[in-house]
Amino acid sequence: MREVHIIGIGQTRAGEQWERSFRDLAVEAIQAALQDANVAEVDALYVGNMLSGELVAQQHLGALLADWSGIGTIEALRVEAADASGAAALRMGYLAVASGAQEMVLVCGVEKTTDADDAWTKAAWASALDAEYEAAQGLSMPAAAGLIMRRYMHEVKVEREAFAPFAVTAHANGANNPYAMYQRPISAGAYAKAAMVADPVSVFDVAPLCDGAAALVLCPSDRFSDRATKPIRIAASAVATDRVAVHSRRDPLFLQSAYLSARQAYNQAGVQPHDIGLFELHDAFSILAVLSLEACGFAERGQGTKLAQEGAIGLQGRIPISTMGGLKARGHPIGATGIYQIAEVVTQLRGEAGANQVDARLGMTQSLGGTGGTAITHILHP
């Protein structure tokens, strides 16, 4: 398989984009990525999105966005893996180039959540759970995370406050990201007083669903254009799955999918966790951030919150996470999130992260579907 490089990125501001439609957002991100790559034509488009059918009554996204972004009658398909849809689209784009099937490939993640009211959107998000055994029984995504978090707190014997560093770090970093939904820091005090969404998950333990689009241009080594910015190589791309329903998992407090996906990625890249310079993990819920750190080998089982409290997850720490705000502060435009994570690591590895710059040689992203039914890990290096 050939090496695959990212030669262009594009993002819209994530947030409540009342005036922008679904296709407006996608076209903006795609145009920005093509311009960044200095590329006018591509051979294929893969679109990551979870809920366009339910929220904007639009399916058939590959064809629609190929047309609307003016890139013509190319191969174009939509890829879905719940919250990991964006990363899943990258996986397909990666395989298309690596296999030799395609040369220049565009990957776009896009989601528009604000055309539907809050209750409808939250109900649609619950389709990331097991519809018959979880959602139909009344479980929502925050409620599922609440069950996991409560069990974790009970077994590991930590209080809620132990999770504060995840929101505080994310917001501190989001403050310097012009694409982030929230650009203001929050204090640990604010975390302690936060209202509950699904006890013990508070408003600061769950990332905001929002609008956004991000896009990447991929190509093999022999297609770098003269004026492309520093190409970033995809050193690893790995997908693993686990039982969708939390109660069906061997261990509800261990993200088996994240563990397997990360292990495969480390093997592909020939690295260990300590080689990773920054980790854009899936902090849709603070409990998932904790479990991701543990499953990917950055902390021992039950030590995830301790790692955070020691300051290891900050920009100066030994495993910076959410360096541009993470899902918590940058926002979670569901199907687009996986591409935002990649764009943020690319920004870091290009040395363009400004006040949030981390000195890193290797960047890792991991996108989870639902509560961990799917995990998609990528490792990038300049």
């Binding site: 409540e16 009342w18 005036e19 604000t114 009211d117 809050d118 209750a119 209202a195």
Partner: protein
């Protein structure tokens, strides 16, 4: 406003089992025999007492509401007849969600200013209905105010100018066959309330050449406590400037009466020379902004009728069951 009060904690107790924040402390609830018409008549009488005007001199009695008792049959004729203003009067009903009263007020200034009438009465009044378990049930309340517009040399305050800002923004609506309105959640915030109020007020300030500091008081539409506080901050008004006219924490959102009751509260305590800003917001969406200057004549008139605070103090707390009965939420047939 009516005397009954439903604590927001009651709504939370019934629907949220005690969890979650409260947007106001309590809201006003109409009694079994109260509706927009009966309340408008009472407000109209208070206005006539302060205005010292004969009802037969009124050339217009205009009532703005989103809870007119009839879908077809004017509220204004009931009010006009009850106060003795008929038959040589223009009676009309107005609607535009929560700014139904201020648009009637704006037009009343035009009627008098054009010398088509010496006196015109504009009323904003509502008995708002909220869907049980909806977020708006904490705040949908009842009440409103009446103003008589007349010649400058008899005025208690005069109008410096008025600006409106409206777009087709469906943030909150109800079809004729629906009992309860629908709303767009967070869409009612930045693209609706904040966009329209700030644009109307900025246009007014620019037109008149005023700064926020020129105003003794400012009154914004008050669907809850937070929105008017934030609008004030965005426009450069201080918490002290909005304090007197901020009633929603203790009476809820009186819809077409909301900003107008804030204005009566301010006028109850205003001093001659005070400049007062009024900015309403109606979903759908639009904002009417006004700048008034209080005259010497206000002294001696403020106590001619019950004050806004007197109405607020006249309260009888009820529980959710009595509220459900008063608002006819229980089907008995």
């Amino acid at each position: 406003m009516p005397r009954y009060r439903l604590p927001a904690s009651e709504v939370r107790r019934v629907w949220r089992e005690g969890h979650g924040g409260l947007p106001v402390e309590e809201k006003s609830v109409p009694g079994l025999d109260e509706d927009t018409a009966t309340m408008a008549i009472e407000a109209a009488r208070n206005a006539l007492a302060r205005g010292q005007v004969s009802p037969t001199d009124l050339r217009a009695v205009w009532v703005g509401s989103e809870s007119h008792p009839y879908a077809v049959k004017p509220t204004s004729t009931i009010v006009a007849e009850a106060i003795g203003a008929t038959p040589e009067v223009s009676a009309a009903d107005w609607e535009f969600a929560c700014k139904a009263g201020t648009e009637a007020l704006q037009a009343a200034f035009a009627l008098v200013g054009s010398q088509m009438a010496d006196y015109a009465m504009a009323i904003g009044m509502d008995t708002a209905q909220a869907r049980p378990a909806d977020a708006l049930e904490y705040t949908a309340a009842a009440g409103g105010a009446a103003f008589i517009v007349g010649p400058l040399d008899q005025s208690l305050a005069y109008l410096e100018g008025s600006c409106s800002f409206a777009t087709d923004t469906p943030d909150f609506f109800r079809r004729a066959y629906q009992h309860y309105p629908e709303h767009g959640g967070r869409f009612t915030g930045q693209p609706a309330y904040f966009k329209h109020i700030t644009n109307a007020v900025r246009a007014l300030l620019e037109e008149l050449g005023h700064q926020p500091a020129d105003f003794a008081a400012a009154v914004f539409h008050q669907p809850n406590a937070k929105f008017p506080q934030r609008a004030a901050k965005m426009l450069g008004f201080s918490p002290a400037q909005i304090e007197t006219g901020l009633l929603s924490p203790v009476i809820g959102n009186t819809y077409a009466g909301s900003s107008m009751l804030g204005l009566t509260a301010v006028l109850d305590e205003a001093k001659p020379g005070d400049r007062v800003l009024l900015a309403s917001f109606g979903s759908g969406a639009g904002s009417d902004a006004f700048s008034f200057v209080v005259t010497d004549r206000i002294q001696g008139r403020q106590r001619q009728a019950p004050t806004t605070q007197a109405y607020i103090a006249r309260r009888k707390p009820i529980d959710y069951a009595i509220y459900a009965r008063h608002r006819k939420k229980l089907l008995v047939r």
